[in-house]
Symmetry: C2
Subunit: 247 residues, 2 copies
DNA sequence: GTGAAGTTCGAACAGTGTTCGGAAACCATA
DNA sequence: TATGGTTTCCGAACACTGTTCGAACTTCAC
């Protein structure tokens, strides 16, 4: 269980144990993320994790109640990384025209997914049996944080009231966005799992998204939008990468 | 390795061992399908399978080279079951109007997925590390068999030449279908993995599909199309179920 | 300094996939 | 029908896995 400072508690100074605990939890998550990226969810193992940090397998139970709890923490951190990717992309292209701003979100979503295939599957498909995010749980907010930057251009354009950066969208605001989400999530999900290897999936994704943006009544994105985004990723994308691994 | 009669071999009468082998492979796949449906891919286990059929774990290596080979066979059989679902739905509604025929495919796709969540994830996401279907492999044809009945109304309507039931579609015919596939696959994938629990996903799916059919320029599906399909599933769907489990 | 709380570890248990050698059963052929 | 080769089956073993327990050890708050 990742211990976070409860809001009601008295603010005590961080003790020596607390810092060690915090650093070790980060180290464990980073190592788990490495094993996940290397060999998929099936190859992140309790004993291997203990071996990587030089401790006994039994000792790890001080920091996580078991493999399930470690996976939920890993899911939350992966959500945060994906949210950072979509957020950074939206911020970097905030001054572009509307069509480009709408296209940027799905592009960032796809780029992150193709660079983090096991993480994408870990977050979006049930790898463990019988696991379901409880309605009030932190998974929901993490999910909203992923899609807020993608939906912001649309909602800012359609809605009369402006949308603040921190205020979460409610269901009514999310619903018209459902179709677009389904489309690019489906295409990305198929591509991540090698179901679109028989075609030029990059061009296919771009053309499908342009068609959808047009069909929804928004102005078309510029021709240079995709290449502009890719060059931005090439320069700014590397910085975030170290941020994810936590070391 | 599921031994099938090679076309070049001399046709010998099925010996006692051959029948026993065939029946046991079917029994193993059926049992694996049961464990998969019950607890997800992680809970179908080699020793548990041996226990279920009353044999030693070592003996199973006579029929499958290992857990990976059993999973690929299971994937193929699951593909066949999903293909049967979409095929049966298309055949049953072949005389409906164009809009309804287009909507029926995604409805059948979604219905099967919600009734077979672990199977859906097994087929469409990489559960094992480093597995990728080879280009000429049987997975591709199995995938085409799933989508041929869904795409048939569209291709029959748009293409000048008629499409036979057995002839596979080529890439050019599949590409305009990509957007629709991405849309309903994405929505279903999200729904299967409990990412749409916060809304009425049934109504959302229906409205999104109707919108897409309209945006693509096809006539709208009738209002009673969905309820008609569901009642058809309630009567005819039960028959196919036994067909899948193989017993 | 003292008692409580947190941390670490070794040992053990039950479970897993897989390999190997030998003993049966089966089957085609002589 | 007897023979020889192939196929099937099993017990034992190996190297793993997640998890629990109890006892030592360290750190913290008072």
């Amino acid at each position: 269980m990742a211990t976070t400072q409860q809001p009601g508690e008295t603010m005590r100074s961080e003790t020596r144990r607390d810092r060690h605990r915090r650093e070790l939890v980060d180290q464990l998550c980073a190592e788990a993320g490495r094993q996940l990226a290397a060999g998929g969810a099936g190859s992140v193992t309790w004993r291997g994790l203990a071996r990587a940090v030089g401790m006994s397998p039994a000792s790890l139970y001080t920091y996580f109640h078991g493999l399930d709890e470690l996976f939920t923490e890993l899911i939350l951190r992966t959500y945060a990384d994906l949210a950072a990717a979509t957020h950074d992309a939206e911020v970097a292209h905030r001054d572009d025209e509307l069509g480009d701003r709408i296209l940027i979100g799905p592009l960032a979503y796809r780029r992150w997914a193709l660079d983090h295939r096991p993480e994408f599957n870990l977050v979006f498909t049930d790898q463990l049996p019988g696991y379901a995010a409880e309605p009030g749980g932190p998974t929901i907010e993490a999910q909203v944080a992923v899609f807020r930057p993608i939906a912001r251009p649309i909602i800012q354009h359609s809605g009369a009231r402006s949308v603040s950066a921190t205020e979460p969208f409610n269901d009514d605001e999310m619903r018209p966005f459902l179709g677009l989400w389904g489309l690019f999530h489906g295409l990305v999900s198929l591509e991540v799992n090698h179901h679109l290897d028989w075609l030029d999936s990059t061009a296919g994704f771009e053309s499908q998204m342009r068609w959808a943006i047009n069909a929804l009544g928004y102005p078309p994105a510029s021709a240079r939008c995709v290449t502009q985004f890719e060059t931005w990723v090439a320069f700014a994308g590397g910085d975030r990468e170290r941020h994810y691994n936590g070391d």
